[in-house]
């Protein structure tokens, strides 16, 4: 892809990633979030965090399927957006739901398994976000790849977080779990398949463009 097209493409994806947030903000200001806007906002932010992490995990299979490097070059931005939405989701809980009631938040983290696992998942995302720069990739070398495999654990924890918070209707977490299972299965198959085992480690992306 020529560099100008690439910049345009990346900008488009960037804007697309901001769209869910924009829609929430717009609906919030238009009072279109119903009787319990805090619940709606918190839920949406959490769901988009999880979906963006799953989209991030799509990039490597996409690269294999298309035999093209661009999905991997988008991966960092998508992952950081996942972190961004997870952070907003956490902020919504701390600010709007608990209103900075730290003892109550601490109590929740310790006593409510769904919050414990959600908080752990977020905690594990932090090092991934911090080491997402190309400089860190170069510095950590193979350890960077190992560290970033945490994403699989994080996605599973986020799904558990989702399952444990719903009352009875698990349709949505099941849908997302099927997606996650497919993406994880792809990795397992790739790992054990001699034909593609050379691609096991997604290559560290080269510099964005000359």
């Amino acid at each position: 892809m020529p560099s100008r097209n690439w910049v345009l493409f990346k900008t488009a994806v960037f804007s697309l990633c901001l769209l869910p947030l924009g829609i929430q903000v717009w609906r919030f200001t238009q009072h279109q979030l119903g009787a319990n806007p805090i619940e709606v906002v918190t839920r949406h932010l959490g769901e988009w965090a999880l979906m963006l992490l799953l989209i991030t995990l799509c990039m490597s299979p996409l690269k294999t399927a298309l035999q093209s490097g661009w999905p991997i070059r988008l991966r960092r931005m998508l992952g950081l957006f996942g972190f961004f939405y997870a952070l907003l989701h956490l902020l919504a809980y701390v600010w709007m739901d608990q209103f900075f009631d730290w003892p109550e938040i601490g109590h929740d983290i310790l006593k409510r398994p769904f919050i414990t696992v959600g908080m752990l998942a977020f905690g594990l995302l932090i090092p991934l976000a911090l080491t997402s720069t190309q400089a860190m990739q170069r510095r950590l070398k193979r350890n960077w790849v190992r560290l970033h495999r945490l994403i699989y654990v994080i996605v599973i924890m986020a799904l558990i977080h989702f399952f444990w918070l719903v009352k009875a209707d698990t349709l949505r977490p099941i849908e997302l779990s099927i997606g996650a299972a497919a993406l994880l299965l792809f990795r397992v198959v790739r790992h054990y398949s001699p034909l593609v085992s050379r691609q096991r480690q997604a290559p560290i992306p080269t510099k964005v463009m000359p």
Partner: protein, 309 residues
């Protein structure tokens, strides 16, 4: 003691078929517009005659009519809060009949009119606390369940009352999915059912119950979590054995038979200490028995409320 009667009650006027159909056509015609959610809020119902609230008022702001009728848990029409207001409109509520059976001297199937006719309607402003941690203040219109049960003369073996909601998958789309076991069942102990706070509601905010709120008649038990207040009742059965309610059957470790509002006993997965009053930003403390402790605590004297949650 007896509530002030103002005028004769008129309840039979559920929305006439023709009006209803015309309204549906109008809504369908406009559904393509982005305005659809706004239009659906104009759904009106007929007004009711009732005596003003006297004893059962609250010094708390009422939840807006819009919120109370557009933020509903009615799993038969969808598991999110916003679907029932939309999808329940397809429900046929006339004709309607209720079976009263079991340990009563006067069992049978009764038309809605027969059920309601002898009972003067009164307004009661109650708190409603959902097990999910939100609450509302709703002006219900109805009459005490006790008055209805007395008419049918419970026998000495009647220890519990079991309520059944309508089962009609063709109009209640979520009943085609096994989210819960259908039809929805709830139950009360006899003394809870006979308690003067326990209400059969047929309206709210001065008008007949909107379908998403459990038309044409529902239970309201203000000191228990909202899911005990079963909607669209078709059967009332008096029993000797404790009934198994739908949520208690679905997840027995999380939902008990009693389900009294209790800030001291958490839901296994979340705290019940506080609640968000719909329309407010911050949270407020949840009150024991939802603020009705004075009236109902004696019913549970000596009971371990952690065990009988």
């Amino acid at each position: 003691m007896s509530p002030k009667r103002q005028t004769s009650r008129v309840l039979s006027e559920v929305t006439p078929e023709a009006v209803y159909r015309a309204r549906r056509r109008f809504m369908q015609a406009t559904a393509g517009l982005a305005l659809a959610p706004l239009v659906s809020r104009t759904v009106a119902a007929s007004t009711l005659n009732y005596s003003a609230a006297n004893k059962y008022t609250l010094n708390e702001a009422k939840t807006s009519f819009d919120d109370a009728t557009h933020y509903n848990n009615f799993y038969e029409f969808g598991t999110d809060k916003y679907s029932p207001a939309e999808r329940a409109q397809a429900l046929t509520i006339a004709p309607w009949s209720v079976v009263i059976e079991g340990e009563v001297k006067n069992p049978g199937r009764f038309t809605l009119e027969d059920i309601l006719k002898p009972h003067p309607l009164e307004e009661r402003i109650y708190r409603l606390r959902c097990v999910e941690g939100w609450s509302m203040v709703i002006p219900w219109i109805g009459f005490p369940l006790a008055a209805l049960l007395k008419r049918h003369e419970p026998t000495s073996r009647a220890k519990y009352v079991e309520f059944t909601s309508l089962l009609r998958p063709e109009e209640m789309p979520e009943q085609k999915r096994a989210v819960l076991e259908w039809p929805y069942l709830e139950g009360l102990r006899m003394d809870e059912a006979m308690h003067p706070l326990t209400l059969i509601a047929v309206g709210l905010y001065g008008q007949t119950l909107p379908k998403q709120n459990g038309a044409p008649l529902r239970l309201v038990v203000p000191w228990k979590y909202g899911f005990k207040s079963i909607k669209s009742i078709v059967k009332i059965r008096l029993t000797e054995q404790q009934p198994v309610s739908t949520w208690a059957r679905a997840i027995p470790s999380e939902y008990g038979f009693y389900s009294n509002v209790n800030p001291e006993v958490d839901h296994p997965r979340w705290s019940q200490k506080r609640e968000r009053r719909i329309g407010e930003f911050g949270k407020r403390d949840t009150l024991m028995f939802n603020g009705y402790a004075e009236a109902v605590a004696p019913l549970y004297a000596g009971m371990d409320l952690r065990k009988y949650f």
